[in-house]
Subunit: 244 residues, 4 copies
């Protein structure tokens, strides 16, 4: 399995409150987390927004089973062409993990169709991450609740389509709630939004969070032998036409 | 439209902490709330557990468009025959509102198929009721969030099927969360679970809560002209058999 | 209630096979159908692709409760600006009916996030439209199945998100099937895809089909008194920020 | 992984039309199919309705990861005690495959809450089994459509809750349709209804059908390391109570 961690990699070089937590970038910690959790059979590469084509040429995407996406302040600068390329690749079977503020990324909005806007936010809150589907593979081996000492409140209504599977709901210090773990099928691919991941706190160092990420990668990966495409025109007894 | 409010009516006569809030029974306040909200075109009757057949003879159910169900300590004493009668009537088109602790009623468990158990509870907590589906008719005219000063915490995981529509999520003082407004289709009928309603607090006197209840009754009511039953055996071009 | 019927209005003036069925355009028949079914309390206007801004200026959309959308061969020529305007208006509460080939419209793809591609098609087939949710308001008074003598086969897999409510499934002469009545919540709005509507057959003259369309308009219309927006920054006890 | 195949085993000894296809019982062929598909790491045992406790003592269920259930004419003779035992075991994490006519079994009705009735049936029809979710693990390596030369039509509306994942829709010779592959989460367990399996045709000998069954067993099996139960009373900062 091949995993690609995509990162905006902006705040880690600009703001001390972020660089002090992720001096080598969020992507480095995410890569380490997945390597540690998924073992040597999984290749984990990194792609950055600053690279040509944001590091996501067609060849990279074609060789990616699951893509993790972290973005925030520079999301509007992601090229529409790359967004469309990612969207098509997901519909073709690639898994996608949308992390934290990336719920408002162009990629998320393109695949989900809604504004993906939160109603409000607040920095620093502790968060309780409650499991809703205790038999789901994404929570295997994960305690309930997961306690995040400091993170960021995101408030409902979050403008997303109803998830096909609602895995987590979080609460924050002010009593706000969020559907913080949401799974969707899109085309042949799978999408998982996971809210924790505020850049000023070492959330991706927490073992429980790493376990969720690894579980979600496994869940989102396409099957080894996917379903073949439908038998086409001329072969089916009743003649028909297929879209161009 | 005819609505029936069903109540266990036990704690209101036994515990001062309850009778001080609902001296004439929860059902009386629920009936008043619905009459006030739904107007003279809607008939609201009451049925009590202590009555013969728990007040739910077949004729009463056949004449009921939406049934509200409140039960708690005496739920195991409800007769299986009446439970089955209610279940069949819901599948045949009647709406059902499952209120508060009635999520663990026999009727709820029969229609939902799961244990309907909460993971924990605590009396007295304030509750914030957050809207998840702001375009749903059940939240029309309802503020977001609704603040309940004192109620009862119910904790996830709540063992219910994923709702067809998740309308509300609540948080409580200890940071717990609950899917507190859940809508399902069952057969030709509709079921709505609404968590607020702890018997020691005047929750059913709150205008916002009354509005939710009235909206939910309207949502759960069957259409004036429902779909006719499927054309049957002998009439359909390809011969077939229908279940006995 | 105000309804706007939007039509591409191309084939009705170009192809005899279409103009013979809809000499004044599909929109004229749809407007008549809705006026007949919904009565004088509902205003039904028409907007055409050839008009400035495709007939969908912001003022028209702001005054529209439910928009019907029929497009086919000229869908790629719809302006992205109008598509985005429609999308935002749906998220803000407007209902949208996506008719027949408009499942591949830009508007549908923008709101659903997937390719919305059918796997194959065939003209002329008879279609059986089976009800899956017999208690849904969209099938009130509608027979089961509805028989469409001549229409168009659309084949699964249809690349759409799983509907929040699956109302109809169709079968065709070659044994193909389609999720032909699909309902979604999107933001504060509602979307309904209804597959029947091939332009070479008088499907929108069928009484059962007209009944479905009218029911769907009623279902998709926003509530008379929608939920107010969330109480904002500075008013909520715990200070927070709202998106710009 | 341990799989148990449960069979009514009645018609195979009574009716020549069935014994000619399954002389040693449906369970024997199902067991062979799973052993062949899942390999030596999976133990497959058989339990029969005629055995004490229907072959499903608590020890057997506790040692079962996934249970397959085939029943038809004798479904009403299954003891309520065993039904309740199976139901609890599913809620606790066991997978369940409901095969063909077992959709009307007591076990299915107990877990799904509805009547589970089909609207009509017809013997002998060919069936086309269409994939709706081409990225789902249950269709991995399975062609689309699967053609079943002779089987049994089951007609919609089928009175089941909306599936959490709709994997297959079938069509039959008379133009009828059925949601023929339906997946649900129930408690910590998973349930999959798979419609093909009429006892008078060698459907469970078809390689594509065997592949679906094996995929479904893998999908329904609980994770190797499931989520631990919630931290309990006295350990959580805010004191609470857990159900008895």
């Amino acid at each position: 399995m091949n995993v690609t961690v995509w990162n905006e990699f902006f705040e880690e070089r600009k703001y001390p409150s972020v660089s002090s937590v992720y001096p080598d970038g969020l992507h480095t910690v995410l890569r380490q987390a997945l390597a540690e959790q998924l073992g040597p059979g999984t290749g984990v590469r990194v792609a950055l927004q600053e690279e040509p084509e944001h590091g996501l040429g067609q060849d990279v995407l074609d060789d990616t089973d699951v893509l993790l996406w972290w973005g925030h302040l520079k999301q509007d600068e992601v090229s529409d062409e790359v967004v469309e390329r990612v969207r098509r690749r997901v519909l073709d079977g690639m898994g996608l993990l949308i992390l934290h503020s990336a719920i408002e990324s162009k990629v998320a909005k393109a695949l989900l169709g809604t504004s993906c806007r939160i109603t409000g936010w607040r920095h620093g809150d502790s968060e309780l991450l409650w499991t809703i589907l205790p038999g789901h593979e994404i929570v295997a081996g994960v305690p309930n609740p997961v306690v995040i000492p400091h993170g960021e409140m995101y408030g409902e209504p979050l403008d997303i389509p109803a998830p096909d599977e609602l895995v987590f709901i979080s609460s924050y210090e002010g009593g706000e709630v969020l559907r913080s773990g949401c799974a969707w099928h899109r085309g042949r691919g799978r999408v998982f939004f996971f809210a924790p991941g505020h850049e000023e706190a070492p959330i991706y160092f927490q073992p429980e969070i790493r376990r969720v990420l690894a579980n979600a990668v496994r869940w989102a990966a396409p099957p080894a032998q996917p379903q073949p495409r439908l038998t086409r025109q001329g072969e089916w007894p009743a003649k028909w036409w297929v879209p161009a």
